[in-house]
């Protein structure tokens, strides 16, 4: 409380004034303390909001990053799929009968159509009257392939000389089937071809599966 009256305060030596002014505080009552708003709630709310914003930001970053990865992988998948298709296209072309016949002829294979002969795998019996295939019974023949395939183009023909050093294919290795199985000319008695498998001439080489 201030007033307009002038006072004359007696001068006292500072040393003598040991009595300090009493420190007066207003003590808040319990109700007043409870009524005061708490800082921690505000801090929690704001922090929570920040956390939410942060989480959303991170999620959208991750999702966008995922979009780039997806785009990359989809392109890769598409390219690989195209490659596979191109290769299977080539495979279909190479397995076309025109190509197989041309390759077979180039290898010197002959087709014996005089009499069909079968080799029964179960007991090695030869069914039919076997005779050696003639030299001139070409698969396609002098007239050439009359069933053209415009896609074949310049597929190179396998040279017979290139495989002369390898093992002669065992007749029992390939299944008896398809159109161009050579008739077996009295199977085990044919002269020992280099690299043929049987030591016992009466035994059949067992089929090899992969």
């Amino acid at each position: 409380m201030s007033s307009n009256l002038a006072f004359a305060t007696p001068l006292r030596s500072p040393r003598e004034d040991t009595r300090s002014t009493p420190h007066i505080e207003i003590v808040s009552s319990r109700e007043q303390r409870k009524a005061r708003p708490r800082v921690v709630y505000a801090v929690v709310t704001v922090a929570g909001l920040f956390a939410l914003f942060l989480a959303q930001l991170l999620l959208s970053i991750v999702v966008s990053d995922g979009a780039y990865r997806i785009a990359g992988l989809q392109t890769e998948q598409r390219d690989l799929g195209r490659q596979q298709q191109a290769l299977s296209e080539q495979l279909d072309l190479l397995s076309s009968p025109q190509n197989l016949a041309a390759q077979a002829e180039s290898l010197g294979m002959v087709l014996s159509n005089t009499s069909p002969v079968f080799l029964r795998l179960a007991d090695g019996a030869i069914v039919g009257s076997a005779s050696a295939a003639g030299e001139g019974q070409a698969v396609i023949g002098a007239t050439g392939s009359l069933v053209p395939n415009a896609l074949l183009g310049d597929i190179p023909l396998v040279e017979q000389a290139a495989i002369a050093g390898g093992t002669a294919p065992g007749t029992a290795d390939t299944a008896v089937g398809g159109s161009f199985v050579d008739p077996v000319a009295g199977a085990p008695d044919a002269g020992a071809t280099p690299g043929s498998v049987t030591s016992n001439p009466m035994a059949l080489p067992s089929p090899v599966t992969r």
């Binding site: 966008s64 039919g128 009359l146 896609l151």
Partner: protein, 587 residues
């Protein structure tokens, strides 16, 4: 009073801060919405949603073993933007040096990569310099596309262009048909389009400025639908052999056309339908228009003596004859009014049995046998039961039903002529189907080319029916086959037709061809047969139309023997245990 000022100050500071922040936002808003609106609008045009066609793949056509006859493949069109065509800088692989690539250099590089001639590319790019689109090369393969992409020319783009290829070329080319620029043009590609045809779908998505798809923005407006796989009964390798052998012989004989039809007796499935001339669907322009389509289905002709087997079976079934019925066949039989029928060779009366009539192919003999079943309608009905005079169950594109004239139109000559295959017409497939009936104990099975249409989810549609209809009794059919065996063992072509170890039944036919003025000197020669005769599994018909070098059916025998041998090998028919029964041909 200090406190009040302090409160007011704090409030003022807070209000000012908020105002500052809000005004910042307002300024930014005004900037975007008003000041830069036009620029941003044009920029956003490229960021709008993109409409995309999702392609459905056309279904493959495969043979009975799954080998692909018609294949759907990806091809690419290389396009360019003539507006942007210009020289550009190419960074070398070390990342440092740059070379300027001129337009002519770029065009030359494109030409080597795609195989399109330089002149064509230049013409296409310079035709309309203001346009945004021009073709550089059409339908290039993946290899060529990769080469073009490697060049890194900024004004070229690529567009997917689904395409069709036929890896087996001419094999079954007449059956499969081909695709033109407007869609399927011919053959099974057209008639089976509801099986193999696909529909494209569409989808939209939004993408960012760098072209990456914005996640979650893809909306499929229409699903793409793939075509199903069409499975044929044809055996690819066997069909090739049939076509090759047929082509060789047709050319040798100088014939106008030739057919080979092989049918499986038990269910009427077609193993091979070979035509010559035929078409490679990869190269349709390489053949004349007459070579498209399948003559085996569409060209009816008077079959000649191969019809006699059907006549004999009908007479046996009616109980009118037995295999040993005796007749005396004259060289020429007078029918009154100056009309007569005669045999292919002039001879005196010969005492033939019914088997002898068949073995020696005597027209007069068959007419005498036919007398024993006088009713015309009955005899005609038998022909219909064998499948003649109506389209086969295949209903191939352009198929003919052949024609057996109505009995009221039968003059005295036609009355007998239809029994030895003149005065009525059939197609090669119909003949094969009739022989299938003979081999199947008299039960006619519907001729089948399509085994089924398999969809991606595993369902199979268009499965053929297994219902047969009886034409003649089993005994009649079996007896006919036995009689036909004697054609091979006792006839004039024994050496040419015998396959050691196997019993084959066959009948030859040398038919005269009408030329508008009666019959001319042209012939249609054929042999129809069944193998193995003791329990027939396959019916084979080989025909050549209007050969020049040899006009008798003996010319067919080498081809018939080759194809029959191939049937034995391809379909693994075991040799016969018992010898052929010999039926007396004369009495």
């Amino acid at each position: 009073m200090n406190d009040a000022r302090k409160t007011r100050r704090r409030l003022a500071v807070a209000a000012l801060t908020i105002l500052a922040v809000v005004s910042l936002f307002v300024v930014r808003l005004v900037d975007i919405q008003v000041v830069r609106a036009a620029d941003l609008n044009t920029e956003s045009l490229s960021k709008r949603s993109v409409a995309q066609t999702t392609y459905g793949a056309r279904g493959n056509i495969v043979d009975t073993n799954g080998k692909v006859l018609a294949d759907s493949v990806d091809r690419f069109d290389i396009t360019a933007s003539p507006l942007l065509v210009n020289a550009f800088d190419r960074t070398a692989e070390d990342g440092k040096s740059k070379t300027t690539v001129s337009v002519t250099d770029a065009i030359a590089e494109l030409s080597t990569a795609t195989g399109a001639p330089v002149a064509d590319i230049t013409a296409s790019l310079t035709k309309d310099p203001e346009s945004n689109f021009a073709y550089v090369a059409k339908s290039v393969t993946l290899e060529q596309l990769t080469a073009v992409r490697k060049l890194g020319i900024p004004w070229t783009y690529d567009v997917l262009h689904p395409s069709r290829t036929y890896p087996n070329g001419t094999v079954a080319g007449n059956l499969v048909g081909f695709i033109g620029t407007d869609g399927p043009q011919n053959g099974l590609e057209v008639t089976e389009d509801k099986c193999v045809g696909s529909t494209n779908g569409s989808a939209t998505y939004e993408r960012g400025a760098d072209g990456i798809r914005i996640p979650g923005s893809t909306v499929t407006t229409k699903e793409a639908k793939d075509g199903g796989t069409l499975k044929l009964t044809i055996d690819n390798d066997f069909q090739w052999y049939a076509q090759q052998v047929l082509a060789e012989r047709t050319v040798e004989l100088g014939a106008e056309w030739g057919t080979i039809v092989v049918v499986r007796v038990s269910d009427g499935h077609l193993m091979a339908v070979a035509d010559y001339p035929s078409v490679d669907p990869n190269n349709v322009d390489g053949v004349p228009v007459t070579a498209l389509g399948s003559r085996a289905f569409s060209s009816p002709f008077e079959p000649g003596s191969t019809m006699k087997s059907i006549t004999v079976a009908s007479l046996l079934d009616a109980g009118a004859i037995t295999p040993t019925t005796q007749v005396t066949a004259p060289g020429r039989r007078d029918l009154g009014d100056g009309q007569s029928i005669k045999d292919a060779w002039s001879h005196a009366d010969i005492p033939y049995t019914a088997t002898g009539v068949l073995v020696n192919s005597s027209n007069t003999g068959i007419s005498l046998l036919a007398d024993k079943l006088a009713d015309k309608e009955t005899r005609r009905d038998y022909m219909l039961k064998f499948g003649l005079n109506s389209k086969t169950a295949v209903d191939f594109q352009g198929e003919s039903s052949g024609s057996v004239p109505q009995t009221q139109n039968w003059d005295p000559v036609t009355n007998y002529a239809v029994q030895f295959g003149q005065g009525m017409t059939t197609t090669s497939v119909q003949m094969a189907s009739a022989y299938q009936t003979l081999g199947n104990g008299g039960v006619h099975m519907p001729v089948t080319l399509v085994e089924g249409c398999q969809w991606a989810d595993g369902t199979v549609t268009e499965v053929p029916t297994n219902q047969g209809t009886r034409a003649v009794s089993e005994a009649a059919a079996d007896q006919t086959v036995a009689m036909m065996e004697n054609v091979v063992t006792q006839g004039g072509l024994t050496a040419e037709l015998t396959i050691p170890g196997y019993r084959v039944a066959a009948k030859t036919g040398t038919a005269e061809v009408a030329d508008g003025n009666g019959y001319g000197s042209d012939r249609i020669i054929s042999i129809a047969g069944l193998v193995p005769a003791e329990a027939p599994e396959y019916a084979i018909v080989v025909s050549f139309a209007k050969p020049v070098t040899m006009k008798t059916s003996s010319a067919v025998s080498t081809t018939f023997k080759k194809i029959t041998t191939q049937v034995i090998k391809s379909f693994r028919i075991a040799p016969s245990d018992e010898p052929s029964p010999k039926i007396p041909v004369t009495w």
